[in-house]
């Protein structure tokens, strides 16, 4: 891989051992994936935040690093609400380790926003055509597909390397040739809210790491619905980029998808039927993190009523702070609005036996990552279940 004179100096260790190793990571990945050179990134989102995932080994590594990030960098969700972890049922031992992890990241100049939806809180992190080094799979999908930026799905160390160096290796989704649609997906159905999660859950399993191009005649998915679609496909498959005709930015010209899929209402309904609400002892919303609009809908549905089951609403701290009246309205019902974390990455989820969610992503991950059975319902069904109406 070609390195500029300045990059070569970093690679040879002239700017210290941490930067040397970080550059070595970028070069090693560039060599593995056949990158010609490095490219500057506008922002970085770093995975490897929940202590549940990185453990003592990861914490030690992050704590040993020296230096400051070169570009704006924020974090993936942590294993707990950084303020209200006791209320979540997180143990003190875990909380101490999680706080140490956060402090280790803060020391490197990283902004302590723990969210899978960086684009919901900072407009300036990603724009059309920008190169990024983001980690969280749904954020990667949203950045590539809805914003039209360019990022691979970075692991924890490679994202940190990009943050400290300010660059990433130019391969994968940074290049037009890898952004061409591989599957045409025609869907004849009226879709709403969690239907997009169900659709993504189905399509991700089929196309795996492909690039689906959707035709959704008569449908106009909202940004939240696109968020749900991408998140589900990134979890049930490893889709990092998709297109929706006349809705998202367009693919580069050239090539035709090799395969075509046809889906209709029946197949969407089968997902709900297979993953039922029956027997759920908790309900969790906000995977990916709720937007202000979603908080508003939840507050509206809960208005004046009390929940009978544990109900978690997960969002980014900045969104909760900017919408404190909505948060208060939701919590008035007995529900919890948790920040910085979610049902997928927190160990607190493990005490439940079946969780109902409106998210196709949580549906994929809860059984494997938390050992909790999962049911899928619309937002209204989820709220009804929490209120004990079903």
């Amino acid at each position: 891989m070609y390195l500029s004179r300045e990059e070569e100096a970093v690679y040879q260790g002239e700017r210290g051992e941490t930067l040397r190793r970080m550059m070595e990571i970028l070069v090693a990945l560039g060599d593995i994936y056949g990158a010609e050179r490095l490219v500057p990134v506008k922002s970085v989102q770093i995975a490897g935040v929940s202590y549940k995932n990185i453990g003592e080994a990861g914490l030690e590594w992050i704590s040993d690093l020296q230096g400051k990030v070169a570009v704006p960098s924020i974090l993936n969700p942590a294993g707990m609400d950084l303020c209200r972890w006791q209320e979540m049922g997180v143990s003190e031992d875990f909380a101490i380790k999680q706080q140490q992890t956060i402090e280790a990241y803060r020391r490197l100049g990283i902004t302590i926003d723990c969210t899978c939806t960086p684009y919901q809180i900072y407009q300036g992190l990603a724009g059309p055509g920008d190169h990024l080094a983001w980690s969280e799979s749904s954020a990667v999908s949203y950045a590539n597909s809805v914003i039209g930026a360019r990022t691979n799905r970075e692991g924890g160390p490679s994202a940190l390397a990009a943050a400290l160096v300010g660059k990433t290796a130019l391969y994968g989704y940074h290049l037009d040739e890898n952004r061409l649609p591989t599957h045409l997906v025609e869907v004849e159905a009226d879709l709403r809210g969690s239907d997009y999660g169900a659709l993504g859950f189905l399509v991700g399993r089929i196309v795996k790491d492909g690039v689906p191009f959707f035709r959704l005649p008569g449908q106009r998915p909202s940004l939240d619905e696109l968020k749900a679609l991408g998140a589900a496909m990134a979890a049930s498959g490893s889709v990092a980029l998709y297109y929706v005709q006349d809705v998202t930015p367009k693919p580069p010209t050239g090539g035709q998808p090799e395969e075509t899929l046809h889906l209709d209402r029946k197949e969407i309904d089968e997902v709900y039927a297979r993953y039922q609400a029956e027997g759920a002892d908790a309900v969790a919303l906000g995977c990916p993190h709720c937007s202000a609009e979603e908080l508003e809908r939840i507050a509206g549905l809960l208005q004046g009523q009390k929940v009978q089951k544990e109900l978690w609403v997960c969002t980014a701290r900045k969104i909760a702070q900017a919408n404190s009246a909505l948060v208060a309205a939701i919590e008035e019902s007995g529900a919890h609005v948790f920040c910085d974390t979610c049902m997928v990455v927190s160990p607190a989820t493990e005490r439940f036996s079946r969780m109902l969610t409106s998210s196709g992503k949580a549906l994929s991950y809860l059984p494997g990552l938390a050992g909790v059975k999962a049911g899928l319902g619309s937002l209204e069904d989820c709220i009804d279940a929490a209120l004990g109406r079903r």
Binding site: R21, E24, I25, A28, D31, I32, G58, G155
Partner: protein
């Protein structure tokens, strides 16, 4: 004997070879507390990788494996060096953050090396030396 290779993680180290035809998932296959391969399905089951020149086709599994390599290194239980046919990101990143020499792009004959043969990995010089007993 000297073999050309490609540098992934810098450094130079030597040790007795420990060879497997199986890919390694450091998360799950290897116990970070003892440096021993604990997966009964793995060819190296029961073997300790500490101080060895670990020769294997490449890594697989969870990206947390990179941190497991780091933890092994901090406990003095890591391999002295590693050789892959083709490195993938988990082992590459693990070796780099841990300061363990790692090279790849060598012919598959390297997997015929006998266990215990002394092997030196010189990543900066992009060469492997195999010291065969005569």
């Amino acid at each position: 004997m000297e073999i050309k290779c490609h540098r992934v993680a810098s450094g130079c180290a030597r040790g007795p070879a420990l060879v497997t035809l199986d890919a390694i998932s450091f998360l799950g296959n290897v116990d970070a507390a003892t440096g021993t391969v604990v997966d009964p399905a793995h060819e190296l089951f029961g073997q300790c990788i500490a101080g060895k020149v670990l020769i294997f086709p490449g890594g697989k599994g969870s990206t947390v494996g990179s941190y497991v390599i780091y933890q092994l290194k901090k406990k003095g239980l890591a391999p002295a060096a590693m050789i892959n046919i083709r490195s993938e990101p988990i082992v590459a990143v693990g070796a780099i953050i841990s300061g363990i020499p790692l090279v790849d792009r060598v012919g598959e004959e390297i997997l015929q090396t006998e266990n215990g043969t002394v092997v030196e990995v010189d990543a900066a010089g992009e060469r492997i030396r195999i010291f065969r007993e005569d």
